[in-house]
Symmetry: C2
Subunit: 360 residues, 2 copies
């Protein structure tokens, strides 16, 4: 029985509209349902010198208290402190959607007298997470891989500098190909609207936007908003009879979620409500893939070099004279070396397929 | 500035309910939106002897005409034909959701006089798709991987046999760990309701359900429905004033989508509307991972064996006497062999990480 004449496909009777529905339009809903069941995770890094309100902003963004047990160091302790990376994880839930939020903090960043290469420990941390994931996804059991890759880095710019400082530029230059950087102009309640505008323009002139891979790719938002001017607060104050999160000054109340006061709401919308999944996808598809490709390429180069070296050594008669022993012995040595060579080739091919897929 | 006292987190003022919404509850919607933008793909295999209505059922399920150019072979041509695998791909769209549907057909299956191991070419095909994917996902450029893994196999059982035939049992035993098998009782319009019931019970007694990994995992549907009794039709007929897909007999009209007539709607619901994504996930997470793990394990065993063999050969003085040449030469040979050994170890570790992740 071949297919019957499927004339209905060409002229579906109008009264049978419902009948002509296959149902694969439910696929996005199936994906939706499964994602809720599985739950989400997100890893946010915050970087910038001490005192710019990093912790407060994160707590404001996620309405949580991530740093309950934090011990602040005094100035003397901080002299000897190097940049260290700390990690806080919290499970939060909202309307039935579960999120495992990890905040990676970089206390000590920019706090030393000499901050040369202080971005390096941050870059190393990001690479280490990529490396761990590369190992895990190349391993035998991939069921319960712990994914610690950093999806976004909020970089805090001081409101006091005239534009970006060299440390800011160095950090963003060094990291923008490893992680999605979202720069924020910290503690914007110390700046008048005119000052905020000027500082934003200055920051953009220094070619931050060129560094901001994520924004370039997603082509969202007016670039003029960058860097987001933010004010954080975890205290609720009364403003015009309404209770809002804000800061109470003698001259008035700063409302965190008032768009006329700062870009907090816009930052939260982008970071959480519209582009959180995008940040994860760019991390996975671009930053991680770049890391992985570099890894494989340098491994391949190493093997090729090694092989050439061996070949050279074997061929240059003076340095490495193959012992001229008659009969079996010599050919066996050669055979062993050849076999080992084949073994290497086998692994290069089986494990990595680098050569033939290079231009695929 | 450390975190301010976040007392609001513990006692949120009731009038500020809306303010206390972070917004990550939109994550499933972000996933939903991105999945629609990207589009879906699904690969369905159909297997079973000729004439059981495989093509008609597929066309009925997806309201498409996948086999426009099909050339049916006559009996003599089919004598010399071996099982070959053909692939049809069609892009369909429904309510803005795009689906790239691939149907893998197995013409010739079970049609020969001697069908010994005729499931083998089907199993090989499935493995080849896994192998290709394994190569691709181990490669350098993973952006545009063509994923041809088979997500589901509809296995057509003849309505004429007394329960399952040995070929059916052999096929399902051989393939149930490679692919999600959904057995269907073909051309159920040749069977009375009592006969359908009896055949289903018989089929289940023969321990099909034990084979049906997908059903066992998903724990959906009453198992009593298996195998789905189906009737396909691509012609529209008039039944009680309504135009329905069906088959017009002198004794009445068989309506494909009438639940009292067959399980077509239930099959379509499961396959398309509720569990299509599940079928893909089980393929990816279980069948493919099993294949991949077996691959890696056999590769590891090979290398260990090879190394032991080399070690043995080198140690047993009679077969392979290391040439006793004084001074540099000898140690250089040894060094070369040792280096090659290290190279192999390096690749085993870097490329595969099999040993240490075995029990992870």
């Amino acid at each position: 029985a071949g297919p019957s004449a499927s004339w209905w496909a060409r002229s579906p009777p109008s009264q049978d509209q419902d009948k002509e529905y296959v149902g694969f339009a439910t696929l996005p809903n199936q994906v939706h349902r499964k994602s809720v069941k599985k739950g989400f995770d997100f890893t946010l890094m915050v970087a910038g010198e001490s005192g710019l309100g990093k912790s407060t902003l994160v707590n404001s963004l996620f309405l949580t208290d991530l740093y309950k047990d934090r011990k602040l160091l005094n100035a003397e302790e901080r002299i000897t402190q190097t940049v260290e990376i700390t990690k806080h994880t919290v499970d939060i839930e909202e309307k039935g959607v579960k999120l495992k939020l990890t905040i990676v903090d970089t206390p000590g960043f920019g706090d030393a007298v000499n901050n040369t290469e202080c971005w390096k420990s941050v870059a190393d941390y990001i690479d280490q997470q990529f490396e761990q994931y590369f190992r895990d996804e190349s391993g035998l059991n991939r069921k319960n891989i712990q994914d610690n890759r950093v999806h976004c880095c909020l970089y805090f710019i001081s409101p006091f500098g005239h534009g970006l400082r060299p440390l800011d530029v160095e950090f963003m230059k060094a990291l923008h190909e490893k992680v999605n950087i979202v720069p924020v102009l910290a503690k914007a309640d110390t700046l008048t609207p005119g000052e905020v505008k000027k500082k934003k323009i200055k920051a953009r002139q220094l070619d931050i936007t060129g560094l901001l891979f994520f924004f370039a790719r997603c082509d969202l938002y007016d670039h003029d908003i960058i860097p987001f001017a933010v004010i954080g607060s975890n205290t609720v104050v009364e403003a015009k009879g309404k209770r809002v999160r804000g800061r109470l000054y003698p001259w008035g109340i700063v409302e965190v979620e008032n768009p006329a006061h700062c870009d907090f709401v816009k930052l939260r919308n982008m970071l959480v409500r519209t582009h959180m999944q995008d940040l994860k996808d760019v991390t996975r598809e671009t930053h991680y893939e770049n890391y992985r490709a570099q890894c494989i390429q340098s491994m391949t180069r190493m093997v090729v070099k090694e092989r050439n070296r061996n070949k050279l050594t074997r061929e240059s008669g003076t340095d490495f004279p193959i012992p001229v022993v008659p009969g079996v012995a010599e050919s066996e040595t050669e055979k062993l070396i050849r076999e080992k060579d084949e073994e290497v080739r086998h692994w290069v091919f089986k494990g990595l397929h680098t050569v033939q897929y290079c231009d695929a």
